[in-house]
Amino acid sequence: MPERQHADEARLVQQAQKGDIEAFGQLYEFYAPLVFRFLFSHLDDRLDAEDLTEDVFIRVWEALPGFRVQGVPFGGYLFRVARNALYDHYRRNRRRSSGAELNLEWESVQTAGDFHLDPAESVPRDMEHGELRASLAKLREDYRMVLTLRFLVGLSTEETAVAMRRSAGAVRVLQHRALLSLRQAIEQQESEENGRQTF
């Protein structure tokens, strides 16, 4: 997993467990973009994803003593915490981001600009983000989760298994089903867009 390999991960985790804030900072720098990616794939608002990213690491810092370096991969453990934080966020903001409202409309996504980036960059990004969210929203929650962790974050099957509390075999089966379901959702999305353009 070239993107994610960190040679000193085990050492940094052990140091952070002992209270070394700088070591934890290094883990943050390495994992924060991935956690953000995971959260933003489930949320509409970039700022919510940023706040929640920090919240996840605060939770991890507090719970780190209970983590056993030899037990489970740290990446899997981290994303298990991230998943819990996301569910808590859904509950707190149920009006905005509940699972029920994940069936967002494509039009509303297209108009949601990101004013923090150069518009020339942000508009295509926002469109892609919207397209991604709209397609994922058509899937079951566990399908969304496995696809996000595997293909958007880049976790290994084993790490995904830890994050989702399933066996690696169950994750593989789930991933296959989820990919086929996504393929159908993409085709449906494309045919809807084509129909709209024709109309």
Binding site: K18, E50, E54, I58, P65
Partner: protein
């Protein structure tokens, strides 16, 4: 069965391509592999949209500084239950276990069984509560088999749930997160151990998987009831208990005996399944 079907339908090449995409090496869109394998095409579609999820430039550095400043402001302290002495939590320290034994011996009249019986009433936040996880940790150390460990984890998870129930009845909602966190730990450990055993001790693993599945599905009814009894501020913890229980059941699904599928579905039917939709509706 399903896994076998997949391996027949989708050859190794497909698996390798999926792994390659997962490792951030997306294939060109519209390539031949995309045409042959629908799954590869879907995975590739996702991988090509990763860039839309990247954080703003400078976010990671700025938020790192903010996060570390927050941790420093707290003196790097963690909640006392998680604090460490050296590289292990204090209740896991051998000296803590020794102290417990000395306490038991010194008290003379207090037998281990009486301590265990008495400790059942102790709840998170009680003065003597720290002895309870210590005693449990000692029991886990004394258990020399994975099967024994898994059974203890199932038992301790159930205890945490009973504690959460008692805390609700006593209106001590602020202590519930500690019980939930420990419930999560014990369920996760039980699932991991059952899955580890599946390869070498299939019968024992199946028996434990069934036990865990029945315990968790049985407990879900109680959790739903408790959710309705708690104020809004504490409901998140009970929703989390449901998610942990549901994950626990799914985590041992592939270990269950072949006829366990029906039993499992019957178990689920008894309990109204709570979806993310319903959680969102609160």
């Amino acid at each position: 069965m399903v896994a076998r079907l997949f391996s027949k339908k989708h050859p190794t090449e497909c698996e390798e391509l999926l792994e390659q995409i997962a490792q951030n090496q997306p294939l060109p869109t519209g390539g031949p592999e995309n045409e042959v394998y629908p799954m590869v095409s879907a995975a590739n579609w996702l991988a090509h949209r990763r860039s839309a999820l990247e954080p703003r430039p400078g976010f990671v550095r700025a938020s790192r500084q903010r996060l570390l400043a927050r941790l420093r402001a707290r003196g790097g302290k963690r909640p006392w239950l998680h604090r460490h002495w050296g590289d292990i939590a204090w209740w896991q320290h051998p000296l803590a276990h020794l102290a417990l034994v000395v306490l038991l011996v010194a008290s003379g009249f207090l037998s281990a069984s009486r301590l265990t019986a008495a400790s059942r009433a102790w709840l998170p936040g009680d003065l003597l509560y720290p002895l309870k996880p210590m005693a449990e940790q000692a029991a886990l150390l004394a258990s020399l088999t994975k099967e024994g460990d898994a059974q203890l984890h199932i038992q301790f998870a159930h205890r945490r749930l009973i504690e959460a129930q008692s805390l609700v009845f006593e209106n001590r909602y602020e202590q519930i997160p500690a019980a939930v966190a420990d419930f999560d730990h014990h369920v996760s450990q039980a699932v991991i151990l059952v899955n580890q055993m599946a390869g070498v001790q299939q019968d024992e693993a199946r028996s434990l998987a069934t036990e865990l599945q029945q315990a968790l599905t049985g407990q879900m009814g109680m959790i739903i009831l408790l959710t309705n009894l708690t104020p809004d501020t504490s409901q998140a913890e009970f929703h989390r208990l449901l998610i942990i229980s549901e994950d626990g059941v799914l985590g041992v699904q592939n270990v269950l005996p072949p006829d366990g599928g029906d039993a499992q579905h019957q178990g689920w039917k008894l309990i109204p399944r709570v979806s993310m939709h319903e959680l969102g509706e609160g």
